[in-house]
């Protein structure tokens, strides 16, 4: 992609934003604890997300112990099992994936990639993290209240979420869960406004929107979506909290619980589902779009080739983001809503497959005629494509309303969404950490440990979730403490479940090795230099590695080209940095 240019500085648009260095913090606490530097906030966000994510990992182990070896572990009661399921799901979707992609990668990469000195509202950015931390602490506290955390399932469907038949429903568990979500959304909104305004207003000179790396496009679009989707969850949480604490009946019709008439009446449980999924479906893409963006950049850098069809990729991200707001009721085909909704939502859902498929084509076409370095980020990117294609295709089963009917609420659904929004985005997170760790620390992560981590995680995760589809196809419903041996099973699923559990334990253990690598390489990793992957985007062109507060030293960089000038014919090297004013000899006057 080339732009017309006449002179080194003429042709660049005038600097719209004054280059103001944010005030440096004095003292250790201002620099490292109550830091207003987006890079520290990013590390705080990511560290907190990983810490609570480890809780979710252990919960998944406990869950799998029950499913793989039913009856062997006395302490896993049905109550405990449903609490594990619920907290695992909620932590992974909201407190880990959303927080690490937007709060973690968003904070670290947006200012660096757009050529800004920091987020535009650094103080609000700091507050965002501390409110998020409070949300995580409230969530963690629910493990220690009488009755334990809520066991309502991560979807928190009323009425059961607030009734006594569900763990934590009539105790503190559900209250703390709802409070924690409300806090999370408040915290996220502060961060989210920052990310959006920074991308729109603080790009450096020459960094047009259509020159942004796809990482920024993915995070930017996801953040806009999150700002529109989270309010639906926010009001749903507030209303359910009122139902639970003040006796309102937003979601509660007249009920008889265990033979006793309750004082509720007139509310609609389905209204909650609409609010929840109006948030919940965009949420899938809030996690997926940053992953799409990041993996595009990983593939381009490590295949030494421009991302294929950049403009199509940008529009696909935007179209997917927009469409994802009109597909939510595909989670509700068998909810009892009016059946005619099925026609509309099945159509919109399958249409969204087209821009998604285009993205997949463009990733693999980027590999075509590339110079593919099988580095760890590339391996994880390949792992992402396999798991994402697999999980995306099973989405065509579940999105196609009538095919969803037998599969809905079975383990097929569990396998599908873990593959597509669990394993696939997590692959990208790992790839991204291996990719940007050198910029964050100045050292490379250990390669041998990374290879073990990759192989166990990739093959192990596939071994967990691919067979799980068939557990669902056989007819085993999700959220079943135990299935037993009902007559409809064409073959017993015990052995398969035990195999899946064994794989899950192994994959979990490999993550411990990864964490060890993170700390080990901090001191002992090979020195990386400023740009070990020879990448074009701005974050690799900082004067210091890791970048200091203010990112750019004396002067902001000027941008002359898109982020994908790899292997340009005639260029002295196989990459031309975005701030490099190089002009090919053969095409005088053009960049």
């Amino acid at each position: 992609m080339v732009d017309r240019r006449t002179d080194e500085n003429v042709g660049l648009p005038p600097r719209e934003v004054a280059d103001i260095l944010p005030p440096h913090a004095h003292g250790w606490i201002g620099r490292y604890v109550f830091s207003q530097d987006a890079k520290y906030i990013a590390i705080q966000y990511a560290g907190t997300a990983v810490a609570i994510g480890l809780v979710a990992l252990v919960l998944s182990w406990l869950m799998r112990l029950q499913l793989g070896f039913p009856g062997l572990f006395d302490f896993i009661t049905p109550e405990a099992y449903y609490q594990f399921v619920t907290m695992h799901g909620m932590i992974m979707v909201v407190y880990l994936l959303t927080a690490i992609f937007l709060g973690g990668f968003g904070n670290y990469l947006i200012p660096l990639m757009v050529g800004a000195r920091d987020m535009v509202f650094p103080f609000v950015n700091m507050l965002s993290y501390w409110v998020y931390l409070l949300a995580v602490l409230v969530l963690a506290a629910s493990f220690f209240v009488p009755g334990g955390p809520t066991g309502a399932g991560w979807t928190l469907y009323p009425p059961q979420a607030v009734l006594s038949g569900t763990p934590g429903g009539q105790q503190g568990g559900i209250i703390l869960m709802l409070l924690s979500l409300i806090l999370f959304i408040i915290g996220f909104t502060m961060g989210g406004l920052n990310y959006v305004v920074t991308v729109l207003q603080a790009r450096t000179r020459g960094m047009t929107m259509m020159r942004l790396p796809l990482t920024v496009w993915g995070i930017f679009t996801a953040t806009v979506m999150a700002l529109l989707a989270f309010p639906a969850l926010f009001v749903a949480c507030v209303m359910m909290l009122f139902d639970r604490l003040l006796g309102t009946s937003f979601f509660m019709p007249a009920l008889v619980e265990m033979g006793e008439q309750l004082s509720y009446g007139g509310g609609s449980p389905i209204a909650f589902q609409h609010l929840f999924w109006f948030f919940g479906h965009p949420e899938v893409y809030i996690v997926a779009l940053p992953a799409f963006g990041i993996v595009s950049d990983l593939i381009a850098v490590h295949a030494r080739k421009n991302i294929f069809g950049y403009r199509m990729m940008v529009w696909a991200i935007v179209i997917i983001g927009a469409l994802s707001f009109i597909v939510w009721a595909h989670h509700m085909y068998v909810s009892g809503m009016h059946p005619w909704f099925g026609f509309f939502f099945a159509t919109t859902t399958l249409i969204i497959a087209i821009p998604t498929a285009i993205k997949v084509y463009n990733w693999v076409l980027t590999l075509w005629q590339g110079d593919i370095h099988l580095s760890l980020p590339m391996l994880f990117a390949l792992g992402f494509i396999v798991t994402f294609v697999n999980g995306g295709l099973t989405g065509l089963f579940l999105g196609n309303v009538v095919v969803d009917v037998p599969l809905s609420d079975t383990m097929f659904v569990v396998a599908h969404f873990h593959m597509v929004m669990g394993v696939a985005p997590v692959m990208v997170i790992y790839g991204a950490i291996y990719h940007w760790y050198p910029k964050m620390t100045g050292r490379m992560l250990n390669d041998a440990m990374g290879k073990i981590h990759f192989w166990v995680t990739f093959l192990g995760a596939y071994a967990i979730f691919f067979p799980m589809h068939y557990v669902g196809l056989v007819g085993v419903p999700r959220r079943y403490y135990e299935i037993g041996e009902p007559a409809f099973l064409t073959a017993p699923v015990d052995g398969l479940n035990a195999f899946i559990s064994a794989a899950a334990l192994l994959v979990g253990a490999a993550q411990v090795l990864f964490l060890f690598n993170l700390f080990w390489s901090l001191r002992r990793g090979r020195e990386s230099g400023p740009n070990p992957w020879r990448a074009t985007s701005l974050e690799w062109q900082t004067p210091d590695t890791p970048p200091r507060h203010g990112n750019w030293g004396d002067a902001l960089p000027d941008v002359y080209r898109w982020a994908y000038d790899y292997s340009v014919p005639g260029a002295p090297e196989d990459f031309v940095a975005q701030n490099d004013p190089w002009v090919p000899d053969a095409q005088e006057g053009r960049l």
Binding site: P78, Y157, G169, A303, A346, V364
Partner: protein, 276 residues
């Protein structure tokens, strides 16, 4: 190189697992073999796409992996290729969506002559109601629920008096008769799920939902709850028996009506449940 082998093995292994493993859906016992057919079409289309994408990727990694002196090509866009891929994807998606929507139309169109049955769920058991001699279910509401009236049938509605009540027992359905299954709950969400019927639907307190099937095979089938309903969710099981007309009639004779049920509760014991 190991990654190339791994990618190829993943494709081959997945296909082999799909074709050879014993885990497949249970034989169908209703008219919804259309659903099974649509699902099989979807398996073929998506399976082919999965194999094509992953094998293409494996080939690219094999063919274009880094070697000393290798230089990547430079081709930012290819309008024609992108257009073609979009069109082909659109056709593939339509090939899955159209049969799906046609079958969905059938799914939501209940035959005029369908029988009616009500399934009534609460934590954690299945109960049933049949329309009785007048062929019509009486109105019902959670507010009527009491020890004498566990299903909350409106005692002032004459249509409800002769409704047949099956509290916690088995449900019989006559084979080859279309039946609209009304679904009701008075506490939390449940879902009436018989794997052999393929169809299922949530039951939502405060409203009445439904689906319809035609049982096509006699036998005893297990009922499960497919919407999380609290601690005993996994243990909320029941039985549906699809029976010949004679067997069905014999069973029906043994059942009691709402009126009889209330009389029984007012003193005379024992309660009569389903005969089996």
């Amino acid at each position: 190189m190991p990654i190339v082998i791994a990618l190829v093995l993943i494709v081959l292994g997945s296909i082999a697992f799909h074709l050879l493993s014993p885990w497949w859906w249970t034989p169908i016992a209703s008219n919804w073999d259309y659903i099974d057919n649509t699902l099989v079409i979807t398996f073929w289309i998506t399976g082919a796409v999965f194999a094509a994408v992953v094998l293409f990727m494996a080939y690219c990694v094999f063919r274009f992996r880094h070697k000393e002196g290798r230089k990547a090509g430079f081709e930012p866009e290819n309008r024609r290729l992108e257009l073609w891929l979009t069109v082909i994807t659109g056709i593939g998606v339509a090939a899955m969506l159209l049969p799906g929507l046609i079958v969905w139309k059938q799914f939501v169109t209940v035959p005029e002559d369908a029988d009616e049955v009500e399934v009534f769920a609460l934590q954690w058991s299945w109960n049933y109601r049949l329309p009785g001699a007048d062929g019509q279910l009486g109105t019902s509401d959670a507010e009527w629920v009491s020890a004498d009236n566990p299903l909350g049938i409106n005692p002032h509605d004459r249509f409800g008096r002769d409704d047949v009540i099956i509290e916690g027992g088995e449900l019989y359905l006559p084979v080859d008769r279309p039946v609209r299954i009304w679904l009701r709950s008075i506490d939390v969400l449940h879902n009436f799920y018989v794997p052999e019927f393929r169809a299922k639907m949530d039951m939502v307190p405060g409203m009445v939902t439904y689906f319809w099937i035609t049982p096509t095979r006699t036998g005893e089938f297990e009922v499960l709850c497919a919407e999380y309903c609290g601690t005993a969710h996994a243990f909320m099981r029941g039985t549906v028996v699809v029976a010949d007309p004679e067997e069905y009639q014999a069973w029906l004779q043994d059942q009691i009506t709402f009126e009889e049920y209330a009389d029984n509760r007012r003193g005379r014991r024992p309660l009569r449940f389903a005969a089996r």
